[in-house]
Amino acid sequence: MLVNRVVYPPDLADRSAISPLLRRWLGALAGVLLGTVTAVSELLFSVLALLALGLARILGRRGRLLQSAVAETALALSELEIRRIARFHGRLHTDVLTPRRCRLYLGLRWSIGLLGIGVVLLLTLCLLVAGSMVSAWGLNGGWGLIENSDRVDSGLVAVAALPGILLIFVAVVGVAGVGSLDHWFVIHVLGRQSDRLLHQRVAELTSSRDHVVDAINDERRRIERDLHDGVQQQLVALGMLIGRARRADKPDKMHDLLAQAHIASQGAISELREVANRVYPIALDQSGLHAAIETMAQRASVPIRITYELTERLRPAVETVIYFVVSEAVTNATKHAFPQLVEVTVTHQRFDRVLATITDDGPGGADPSGTGLSGLARRVAALDGTLTVHSPVGGPTVVTASVPCG
C-alpha cells in the first residue's frame, strides 16, 4: 500500500530510517550466530570427509558408498549455508552445486564462522565491561570485574570511554562485516558475480533462443509428418473407397465398399485425434501433468510404472516441457528398445527444481544426438534445464531432465 507520508520536520525522516538499519543489523547478528553453529559442523565434516575419502580410496569399489555419502552431506550442508546467507546476508545466485566445490567451500568456510564467534564474543565482552563500569559509576559501587577492585570514579570512566566506544563500534560493524564476508565468500566459491552472471546469462539466452526456434521447427516438422503420413493417408484411402463404390457396377459391391469406407472414416477420425493429442495434450491444461502422463501411459503399448511425487501444479511451461520429455522418451523406448517395462519418475529436486527420469530395460545404445532427443534437449535448455541420456550398450537407457520450477 502506497501512502504519501509527509514527514515534518525533515530530520525526522532520517531518524525513522534507523529502525530498518537496526533490523538489518539484528538480522546480520542472527545470521552470524547461526553461522558459528554451522561452522562447528563444517569443521567436523571437513575432518571426517578427509578420513572417509582416504578410507574410500583404500577400499576401492566398496568405498563408493562412503564417497556418495560424503558428496550428499557436502551438498546438504552447502545448501543449508546458502539458505542461511540468503536469508540473513542478502540474495545470491549459485551455479549448480558440485560435491567437489561444496567440499572446498565447507573446508574453508568454517574459519569465517570462527571469526564470527570471535567478533560476537568481543562485542559481548565490551558491552559487559562497559555496562558494569557505567553501573558501578552510576551506583557509586565497587567494580566486581576486577579483583581488589578500585572504585569506579569519573576519571576512570572518562579515560575508558573513548577506547570503549571505539571497541564497541568496531565490534558492531564487525558483525555486519562477517556477514558480508560470508556472503562474498559463498558467491566467490559457489556462486557467480553479478556482472559475470549477466554476461553468462546473455550468452545462455542467445543460444537458448536459437534453440527454441530450432525446437519449434522440429516440432512443426513432426506435425507435418504426422498429418501427411497419418491423417492424409487415411483420408485418401477413404476417398478411394468412396470413389470405388461410386464406380461399382453391382449394388452388393457398392454396399460393401461403403461399409469399408465408413470404417475407414472412423480410422481417420481417431488418427486425427491422436495427432492433435501429440501436438498438444489437452489433459495437460485441464488436469495437469500427472493426469497427462497417466493418460499417455494408458495409451502406450508397453507397461509403464509411474512414480509422481509432486503435490502442487508447476508453471505451464515447465509442465509442458516435462510432459514432452516423458512422452518422447517413452515413444522412443517403445519404438526402438521394445522394453518389458518403462519406469517414469517425477520428483522434486534440490534448489526448487523438478526432476523427471525415464528408464527402460531395453538393450540401450540410444543416440543422444538423434533428432528427437536433441530437440528435447533444446526445449529443456530453453527453461535453463538440463537433459541427460545415459544409454550404455546392454541397457538400461535412462533419460533424465532437470528443470527449475521458478
Partner: protein, 214 residues
C-alpha cells in the same frame, strides 16, 4: 495393363491395388520401399509404375529417385509419381529430358478416382499427367528472366492444361473455346518460349520443361 505399386502405407497400398484390380488392371507387384521397387521393375518390366515419394528408410525422396532411375534405365516403363505436397524441384527433375510416359500427381488426387485412372492411362499411353495444383504453382513462379511472363493469361491457361497432358481437343472443351483458337494459343506459346518445330520431340512437353528450367 501391368502395374507395380510402391507405397509404404499399407492402407494406401492395399487401397491402390484393389482399385487397380477393380479396373481390370494386372497388379504384378506391390512393394513398400524404393529398393524393392527397382528390383521388381528389373524383374517384371511393367507397363506402368505408381510410386510414392516418401518411403523408408529416410522418408525423404526415395520414391522420386527410384522414379528417375527407372526413367533412365527403362524408358519404356511409364512412371506416375504420387507426392504428398507440391515440390517444384521434384516435378522439374522428373520431366526434364523426358518426352512423356511420366506423371506427377498429388496424393489427394488418388481420392478422385476418375482423375487418377485417367492420368494413369495417359501416362501409360506415352503422354504426361501433371497435377493441376503442381502446374498452378509452377506457373505462379515468376522471375524476371522468365519467358512465361510474356504469355497472355489465356495462353497461360492453355499451357497449364497442356502441362497436365491434355490434348488440344480436351483443352478446347475445358476452356470453352474452339480447337483452332487453342492451336493458335499453343503456337503462340511455342513461339514465345522459342521452341522450334523439330521432329521427334514433343513441343508440348518441351514447353513445360523449358518453363520448369527457368
Amino acid at each position: 495393363m501391368r502395374v507395380i505399386v510402391a507405397e509404404d502405407s499399407t492402407l494406401l497400398r492395399e487401397g491402390l491395388v484393389r482399385l487397380l484390380v477393380d479396373e481390370g488392371h494386372d497388379v504384378i507387384a506391390s512393394v513398400s520401399d524404393a529398393d524393392a521397387l527397382l528390383d521388381a521393375v528389373e524383374r517384371d518390366r511393367p507397363d506402368v509404375v505408381v510410386t510414392d515419394v516418401r518411403m523408408p528408410p529416410d522418408h525423404s525422396d526415395e520414391g522420386l529417385r527410384a522414379a528417375l532411375t527407372i526413367r533412365g534405365r527403362w524408358p519404356e516403363v511409364a512412371v506416375l509419381v504420387l507426392s504428398q505436397y507440391v515440390e517444384n524441384r521434384y516435378a522439374a527433375e522428373l520431366i526434364s529430358g523426358s518426352v512423356g510416359r511420366v506423371g506427377y500427381l498429388l496424393k489427394d488426387r488418388v481420392a478422385q478416382v476418375d482423375e487418377f485412372l485417367d492420368a494413369l492411362n495417359r501416362v501409360a499411353d506415352g503422354g504426361t499427367a501433371f497435377d493441376p495444383e503442381v502446374v498452378r504453382q509452377l506457373l505462379s513462379r515468376t522471375t524476371r528472366s522468365n519467358p512465361l511472363e510474356r504469355l497472355t493469361p489465356r495462353e497461360r491457361d492453355v499451357l497449364e492444361l497442356m502441362a497436365q497432358g491434355l490434348t488440344n481437343a480436351r483443352i478446347s472443351a475445358d476452356l470453352y473455346i474452339s480447337v483452332s483458337s487453342t492451336e493458335k494459343h499453343a503456337n503462340a506459346i511455342f513461339d514465345k518460349l522459342g521452341l522450334a518445330n523439330s521432329s521427334g520431340v514433343s513441343r508440348r512437353v518441351t514447353a513445360v520443361v523449358a518453363y520448369l528450367r527457368t
